[in-house]
């Protein structure tokens, strides 16, 4: 097995009396794409927020590249190379593509006066986006002129450019058309080829997960109930698991009908 990028050991998280996660252990290897599936309220967002350093786990351990770590904050996690791509993408609509690519990590022509080096940022952004096969009319257009898929792709490319080692994608294909989704999935595939990045994708769309992920984990009621390589399982098998959960839940509410 290849090298480990990120691992959690028996993570639990409670908010007051509500337990969002119980005993969650996941393992993510370098260069691997892990799909995290689960219904609304299963604990996906809580798990992601723990991995980005936003929440602290109530109990359990996190290992990054084999070392046990305590994620103090989002910026601490990012400094290690754990880069979240938020659903709002943190892009600035009124600003062009290449400046967005370098936002907060701007290249400067003059350090003292903080003058931006537009030429260099433009060139590097163009090069990097081309390498990632992100298809946009030009790096000079404002983000507001781009489609949802193009924006998502730029946000992903930006994180990769920022030397992400673990990329956390929250619903990257949500509310996107077929072409748009295909473009994102293509970018994620390229990640595996060009950069040694590990990716966790939180998604609802099973087909998309099976398309790009090496492995799937299913989160049900705050627990990981399924962990298998996508090659060794099928969409049907997963759907059955989810439906089974539904039936069980129904039987708990109406035991006599069981």
């Amino acid at each position: 097995m290849s090298e480990e990028a990120l691992r959690t050991e028996s993570i639990s998280k409670s908010f007051g009396r509500v337990t969002a996660l119980r005993d969650v252990s996941i393992r993510l290897n370098k260069g691997e794409v892990l799909g995290l599936l689960g219904d609304n309220g299963a604990g996906k967002s809580t798990l992601m927020k723990i991995l980005t350093g936003f929440h602290k786990p109530t109990t359990g351990k996190i290992f990054f590249e084999g070392q046990e770590i305590e994620l103090k904050s989002v910026s601490h996690a990012r400094s290690l190379g754990i880069e979240p791509v938020y659903q709002d993408l943190a892009l600035i609509n009124e600003v062009n593509v290449y400046r967005n690519m370098f936002l907060q990590k701007e290249l400067l022509r003059n350090k003292f006066f903080q003058i931006l080096d537009d030429r260099e940022m433009r060139r590097l952004a163009q090069e990097h986006l081309k390498q990632m096969r992100v298809n946009i009319p030009s790096v000079d257009v404002e983000i507001s002129k781009l489609s949802g898929g193009q924006r998502q792709a730029i946000a992903v490319a930006r994180s990769v450019y920022a030397n992400a080692k673990v990329l956390l994608l929250d619903e990257p294909t949500a509310a996107m058309g077929v072409k748009e989704s295909a473009m994102i999935l293509d970018v994620i595939r390229r990640l595996k080829e060009t950069a040694n990045v590990a990716v966790i994708i939180v998604a609802h769309n099973y087909a998309h997960v099976f398309d790009v992920c090496d492995r799937v984990n299913l989160l049900q009621n705050g627990k990981i109930t399924f962990d298998r390589a996508t090659k060794e399982t099928s969409i049907d098998e997963l759907l059955n698991l989810v439906l089974h959960e539904m039936r069980e839940a129904r039987e708990q509410i109406h035991p006599t009908h069981g």
Partner: protein, 344 residues
């Protein structure tokens, strides 16, 4: 993969298509929202010159410059604040306050150069207070600066006793800070040009400017990538108040007098109108300092031109209000056309 052929080039007012060291100013003038206001200004000059031949006389141009320069300097700061998604109502009161701080400091034995610095510092402190209350305590800036507006006005009236004062400084200081030269407000004009150029440059070419746009354009996103949004907002409040103070000091030397009732909400609204007419969006995330400068010039042309044409001051405000609305309606139409025509 080959890049697509460029589609019809979309507008990008914040950055030129190809980074060009010298073409920035000219390009943003020709390529974007500033163009329409420039054309409006030229048309107005032609109109007023044809109705009142004295319009382009030197003495009248001097009048116009005095008005436009003061408002343009205040508007430059207001644009920076508006881009971050905030608003500063108090800047006109800082305009009145700063000369008195300067005057009193000098009366207490401080040399004039230092007294000017103290006057400017008083402005910066007001900006800091506006920023801290807005950002740290989460009070909408409209309310924060409404409060400080009254407080500063009361403070200025208190320290002045409600009476104007006459500064007596070295002629050189008068000459540098707004004093007329051969009957023409040369230095004030140059200050307005320099400040407009400086802040347009800061806005379009520096990290501070980019982060200012980012903060106003997507507050949450800017914070997520690690931009210190609190610092950006507070800093721009300070810039705005500082420029308000500077405009007040310039005017004080120009007319050799500081009036505690000068400036106020009238100047603040004119500066805001200049910013808006020039193409700055009140919703934040987008704005132009050059546009605000041109907006101030157009306001100056309107008020001066109507005065020369014999329109009464009462009627003038009606016309001014109408002009602002018409300009804005045209602007909104034009930007819709641009959005439809330019790029995807």
């Amino acid at each position: 993969m080959p890049t697509e052929p460029p589609k019809s080039a979309p507008e990008s007012q914040a950055t030129p298509k190809r980074p060009n060291r010298l073409g920035v100013l000219g390009r943003s003038l020709l390529h974007s929202r500033e163009a329409s206001i420039l054309i409006a200004g030229i048309l107005l000059v032609i109109y007023f010159q044809s109705t009142a031949p004295a319009f382009l006389s030197w003495s009248n141009i001097a009048n116009l410059v005095v008005f436009a320069a003061t408002i343009a300097i205040i508007a430059a700061g207001e644009v920076m604040v508006i881009i971050t998604g905030e608003f500063d109502l108090s800047v006109g009161m800082v305009y009145a306050l700063a000369p008195f701080v300067m005057y009193d400091a000098h009366a207490a034995g401080v040399p004039y150069v230092l007294a000017i610095v103290l006057g400017l510092a008083a402005g910066a402190v007001v900006g800091l207070i506006n920023g801290l209350i807005t950002v740290r305590l989460g009070i909408p800036s409209f309310i924060t600066t409404l409060g400080t507006l009254f407080m500063i006005n009361g403070f200025t009236l208190t320290i002045s006793g409600g009476f104007p004062v006459q500064p007596e400084a070295d002629p050189l200081i008068f000459a540098i800070f707004g004093g007329p030269l051969g009957g023409f407000p040369v230095s004030q004009f140059l200050w307005a040009i320099a400040i407009t150029a400086l802040f347009q440059f800061i806005l379009v070419k520096t990290r501070w400017g980019l982060h200012t746009v980012a903060t106003g354009g997507n507050l949450l996103g800017a914070a997520e990538v690690g931009i210190k949004i609190a610092r950006i907002k507070i800093g721009n409040f300070m810039i705005c108040s500082l420029l308000g103070a500077f405009a007040g000091i310039l005017d004080c030397f120009r007319i050799s007098s500081a009036d505690p009732l000068a400036g106020g909400t009238d100047y603040m609204f004119r500066a805001t109108a200049s910013a808006v007419i020039g193409g700055t969006l009140l919703t934040g995330g987008s704005g132009t300092v050059i546009g605000a400068f041109l907006g101030a010039v157009v306001l100056g042309i309107l008020s001066d031109g109507f005065t020369l044409s014999g329109v009464s001051a009462y009627t003038f405000d009606m016309i001014l209000g109408g002009a602002i609305l018409v300009t804005m309606i045209i602007n909104v139409r034009l930007s819709k056309l641009r959005a439809a025509g330019g790029g995807k």
